[in-house]
């Protein structure tokens, strides 16, 4: 209950007092104590990020994760023409998905779903994002744990300062 309130509460502190009306639980007292001390112990920032494919190593890791063929760098034929980049062959897709790593631009021809299911591409983007987060976190020396949520989302928890 408390967690839900914090997650959706994005208003300034003038509305924060409403939290206190929920009860006198130890969790609320902890929040108020942290506020009083100026040290926040709970959520501070939430944001949403749209994934861009910019890391060849993470693309390879995503392919491994989904048991796809290894990505291939070079020139590749799409219906719309030839494009150069790192190509991934998705299951049941007629043409490959080609990533231009320097720009993050993704090229593909799915003909509105007739030549490839967009959900399969989304699944690849999910795998890429998860692997990219793990690579970057470990590079910084943080510990990462992964779990699967009921709706198919992947949850990654980074312990800042932990050993990789």
């Amino acid at each position: 209950m408390l967690h839900r309130v914090l997650r959706r509460d994005t208003v300034p502190f003038s509305s924060f007092a409403s939290v206190t009306q929920l009860g006198n639980s130890s969790a609320i007292r902890a929040i108020l104590a942290s506020v009083a001390s100026g040290v926040c112990m709970f959520n501070l920032v939430m944001g949403t990020i749209k994934t861009e494919i910019r890391d060849a190593a993470a693309v390879r890791a995503a392919c491994d994760r989904l048991k796809l063929p290894a990505p291939a760098q070079g020139k590749h034929e799409l219906f719309s023409g030839t494009v150069e980049g790192l190509a991934v062959k998705l299951p049941d897709w007629v043409y490959p998905v080609v990533a231009d790593i320097p720009t993050g631009k993704l090229s593909f021809d799915d003909f509105g779903g007739r030549w490839g299911d967009r959900k399969v591409l989304d699944r690849f983007l999910q795998a890429y994002a998860a692997e990219k987060v793990k690579i970057e976190s470990r590079r910084k020396g943080h510990t990462v744990t992964e779990s699967q949520l009921a709706d198919g989302s992947i949850k990654l928890t980074i312990q800042v300062g932990g050993t990789a």
């Binding site: 994005t10 861009e52 998860a130």
Partner: protein, 64 residues
């Protein structure tokens, strides 16, 4: 309290980030490497605690 960053990657490949255990605006710095690694940030929501910490910091500065 441990400093953690929680990341949810949806089935559509979009990523949401939450920080916990950081003081003031340091949470932004802590999660910046995730944003830089993944792509474009679509939105950002500052929670009530973020604003409160900012207010507390302002009050402390006014006292000194």
């Amino acid at each position: 309290m441990n400093k953690t960053i929680e990341i949810i990657v949806t089935v559509k490949g979009e990523t949401s980030v939450q920080t916990r255990g950081f003081t003031g605006s340091s949470c932004r710095d802590a999660s910046k490497f995730i944003e830089q690694a993944l792509g474009q940030r679509l939105d950002e929501q500052l929670t009530a605690e973020f604003h409160q910490v900012a207010i507390t910091e302002q009050q402390q500065q006014q006292r000194t």
